[in-house]
């Protein structure tokens, strides 16, 4: 038996671990606090948290009382051994009791409705203050495009927003649009989710008051790689955010040592889908790569952004993210190395 155990485990386990390479994401995620809805760091999430606790407490009290009644009645009124076999008294109903257990729920529901409506308006109807940041969020199968129209910056999958001081809030307003199917923008610690629907403009806002990285992901089923349409929000103090913006506005810096790689980039299909500011690459189908290396992850959070992972990704994205819409590039080993050498200069 003992000898067979490892073999048996191997047989069962092999299919499970077939994709066990997590491309470094496990370690990276572990450094970020898990995205639970009960540790809000932004006003919308915080207001939701308050109404959530209120609701949960009410429901818990109802549960204890009603479940208590059920358990009490099945214990107290069970048929005992040696029963005389006579039927118990038949009770057909009671109007006062019915009235009581209709009225009490109505009152509870009334209180809950008032709380709910108040929170709906305070989150949804909040006006946009003049010193807020505006970001256009565009959902794609299966990645996120972030455009800062007032700041002239375009990036993907990792949203940078400034820290908002509760005394002088500088919230970020997100205009949500989709390039293809329905998605949903969700970063649990910052706000509830809002759907990202084609041919429609939705809006939400966040005002994170604690710096850090927050995990989120697409929450509306959007096709093959819905599960790996991840996103991160990086909240940094205003000076850091301004520095990041300034750096993002720079065009890519030419480095003559990687000229061959750039040539490959500019003469293959890459340019049809990607933008690199200052080059011929003006495609809009895929993420903007001007500052690719400023991002921690590639493939919308499918893999850590390392030269090794980049090489595997460019060679065939479906190894990392099966079904990704970027085709395998079929480059020779040397061209691939040179191309990756070029890509990692895009800081």
């Amino acid at each position: 038996m003992k000898r067979w155990l490892p073999i048996l485990l191997g047989l069962v386990g092999t299919p499970l671990v077939a994709l066990a390479n997590d491309w470094g994401m496990g370690d990276s995620n572990a450094k970020i606090p898990p995205p639970t809805i009960f540790s809000p760091v932004s006003t919308p999430a915080n207001e939701i948290n308050t109404v959530a606790y209120f609701t949960i407490v009410i429901c818990a009290v109802i549960f204890v009382i009603v479940a208590g009644l059920i358990v009490y009645s099945i214990i107290r009124f069970r048929e005992r051994p040696g029963d005389d076999g006579r039927e118990p008294a038949q009770v057909y109903g009671s109007n006062p009791i019915e009235f009581a257990w209709t009225t009490v729920p109505v009152l509870i529901v009334f209180v809950l409705i008032l709380t709910t409506v108040r929170t709906i308006y305070s989150v949804q109807a909040a006006p946009r203050p003049p010193d807020s940041i505006l970001v256009r969020v565009i959902g794609h199968q299966w990645w996120w495009e972030f455009r800062y129209p007032e700041l002239g910056v375009v990036t993907a999958n990792e949203l940078h927003v400034p820290l908002s001081d509760p005394a002088h809030p500088t919230p970020t307003f997100l205009d949500l649009e989709s390039a293809d199917v329905a998605h949903s923008f969700w970063v649990p610690r910052l706000a509830g989710k809002t759907d990202v629907i084609p041919n429609r403009k939705n809006q939400m806002w966040i005002d994170p008051y604690q710096p850090g990285t927050y995990l989120g992901q697409c929450a509306e089923y959007c096709g093959t790689e819905h599960a790996l349409m991840l996103l991160r929000v990086i909240v940094e103090p205003r000076p850091d955010f301004d520095r990041w913006i300034a750096a993002q506005k720079q065009p890519s810096v030419g480095d003559s040592s990687v000229d061959h790689g750039r040539q490959i980039f500019e003469t293959t299909a890459c340019v049809n889908c990607h933008v690199v500011q200052g080059t011929a690459a003006e495609g809009r189908f895929g993420p903007d790569l001007t500052h690719l290396m400023a991002r921690e992850t590639i493939g919308a959070g499918a893999a850590m952004n390392t030269p090794e992972n980049l090489k595997i990704w460019v060679h065939n994205p479906s190894v990392v993210k099966p079904g990704a819409l970027m085709p395998p590039m079929n480059l020779s080993e040397k061209d691939l190395d040179d191309l990756v050498a070029y890509l990692i200069t895009l800081r």
């Binding site: 496990g26 009603v66 009671s94 209709t102 409506v117 199968q141 989710k193 929450a219 093959t224 079904g323």
Partner: protein, 560 residues
């Protein structure tokens, strides 16, 4: 092919056993008997229950560990689509339809439904639609690289279903098969309404109709109102896909949100269409095993009708995150919470029925008690998701998956099992084993809670639904492993159920007409009832005619 029709197809139950196999099959195919059609609905539903259960097992195996590679993403998406579609349209609907088919005529002292041929038509069109859905595995490939079975999720949100994103024919199979099963359900609902209103035996006024029959009427009206919007939307989607209409084609100016409205105008009442039959079973089973009359008959019926009315105006609570106006969100949050009131009344009335009774813990009652507790929790998490701001966090996460499985499994499947254990003796003449039944109950109960209790927490920890995998390091590993283990414990419970049914069909204890000492009319018929149900149509004086017979000194008719 010798002999007259009568010789080849004897009409009596007695003749059936001695027929050759093919003739026996033939007899089931041509039948218009409500009992046989009911049993075929239930059997068909149970077969699909096993199929969709195996799909769920595969899903849970894939999600047991992070980053698993057991099934590729496309296959996973097909599995979860087929699991959901199958469980709703090919399991829930036919089993509940089947029970109503079987029970309504017996309970109102009739010989059959009002339109027996329509009933047969409904069953066969349902079966055809169901098989069409599974034929998509073979026929779905329309283009190179296009998938086989549908992979758009059971609510098939536009524009993922449009030609641009769903190539091949898999989505067309989804549309047409569900369309056909809806035709069958519509036929059944018309039939049930006509039967309950015009075929009751002498003495059975509407106020003396068993609660189950009342709820069958309520559900039938709901089906008549809720199914057409779905059918209309499906036709519109077909037009989009085949002749370039632009109802939901966002690239040509169509509306994705319009589909969501259409779908949920059907989809939310659908939840109640499935759960009200569970209420119906509970309202028959809890009194018998508590040895007490149902507490507050009129209120129970009124509360069900109330649920039906309110449930028609709550659909957009599935859409709190699509960006409705605050006023829209407030309206649908309010109406959704109001459903809690009549639902609460029903739970209290069931407790009132048990209160002061002498509760017998037979297997049907075990399932019914678990149903009460689980439905209570499902209702309370339902209140949570009705709080629109809370739902902005909860919608489309595993919390919602947990919530609706608490309804669909914790309430509906548990009550289906209760109903099977309760009425199996009537339909077959043999008892199901209590011992195997208890194994089934406890394994299924433990497995259910392992799987679905933990799912709530996965959702609160940021796990969206419908993901084929999740990354390590996000705090989801333990929860998902427990969920998967629970799924296999449930499967073990189902194995006991299958063994129980198979062995009891062969050698179960003979049941007699009235094994539970019950009070409604079906227990006055033989087990199994003859094709004509009652040799002489009954005449009744109260809601519990058999109680009156058993207790002539204290009949119900004195109090009603």
């Amino acid at each position: 092919m010798a002999g007259s029709i009568e010789q080849r197809i004897p009409l009596g139950a007695e003749g059936a056993a001695s027929l050759p196999f093919l003739d026996r099959i033939h007899e089931w195919v041509v039948t218009v008997d409500h009992k046989r059609l009911g049993l075929m609905y239930i059997a068909g539903g149970l077969v699909f229950f096993i199929v969709a259960g195996l799909q769920a097992m595969t899903i849970r195996l894939q999600l047991a560990v992070p980053n698993a590679g057991l099934v590729p993403p496309d296959m996973f998406n097909r599995l979860m689509t087929m699991h959901g579609t199958t469980m709703v349209f090919l399991v829930g609907m036919p089993i509940l339809t089947g029970f109503f088919n079987y029970l309504v005529p017996l309970m109102i002292g009739a010989r059959d439904l009002a339109f027996p041929r329509l009933n047969a038509f409904g069953f066969w069109i349902w079966l055809f639609g169901s098989l069409l859905l599974y034929f998509s595995y073979i026929g779905g490939n329309g283009l190179y690289g296009a998938g086989s079975a549908p992979d758009v999720g059971w609510f098939a949100y536009a524009p993922l279903t449009e030609r641009a994103f769903s190539r091949g024919n898999s989505t067309d199979y989804w549309i047409l098969s569900i369309f056909l099963t809806s035709v069958g359900s519509t036929a059944t609902s018309i039939n049930l309404i006509a039967t309950a209103f015009s075929m009751r035996c002498e003495g059975m006024t509407l106020r003396k109709m068993p609660v189950l029959v009342w709820l069958a009427v309520v559900v039938s009206f709901m089906m008549l109102i809720a199914l057409p919007p779905l059918a209309a939307a499906q036709v519109m989607l077909l037009l989009d896909r085949f002749i370039g209409a632009h109802f939901f084609d966002t690239q040509a100016g169509g509306s994705a949100v319009l589909w969501q409205h259409f779908f949920w105008i059907f989809g939310h009442p659908e939840v109640y269409i499935l759960v009200i039959p569970a209420f119906a079973f509970a309202s028959e089973i809890i009194p018998v095993f508590s040895r007490k009359v149902i507490f507050g008959y009129e209120v129970m019926v009124a509360a069900s009708a109330g649920i039906a009315f309110i449930s028609m105006s709550v659909w957009a609570h599935h859409m709190f995150a699509v960006g409705m106006t605050p006023a829209g969100n407030a309206f649908f949050a309010t109406s959704s919470m109001l459903v809690g009131v009549p639902t609460g009344i029903k739970i209290f009335n069931w407790i009132g029925t048990m209160w002061g009774g002498k509760i017998r813990f037979k297997v049907p009652m075990l399932f019914a008690i678990a149903f009460l507790l689980q439905f209570l929790i499902a209702g309370l998490t339902g209140i949570m998701v009705a709080v629109a701001p809370f739902d902005w966090q909860l919608t489309d996460t595993y919390f919602v998956v947990a919530h609706f499985h608490y309804v669909l499994v914790g309430a509906i499947v548990f009550m289906i099992f209760a109903a099977i254990y309760y009425w199996f003796p009537k339909a077959t003449g043999r008892m199901l084993s209590q011992q195997l039944g208890k194994w089934h109950f406890w394994l299924f109960f433990i497995g259910f809670h392992l799987t679905f209790d933990t799912m709530h927490f996965a959702g609160l920890h940021g796990m969206p639904r419908r993901i084929f995998t999740y990354q390590p390091g996000r705090g989801l590993e333990t929860l998902n492993l427990v969920e998967s283990i629970g799924a296999f414990v449930q499967a073990l419970g189902i194995l006991f159920f299958v063994i129980n049914v198979v062995s009891s069909l062969r050698s179960g204890e003979p049941a007699g007409n009235d094994p539970w000492d019950a009070w409604t009319l079906e227990w006055a018929a033989a087990s199994p009832p003859p094709p004509y149900n009652f040799a002489e149509l009954p005449v009744i004086g109260s809601r519990r005619p058999l109680w009156d017979l058993k207790h002539p000194e204290d009949p119900d008719s004195k109090y009603e």
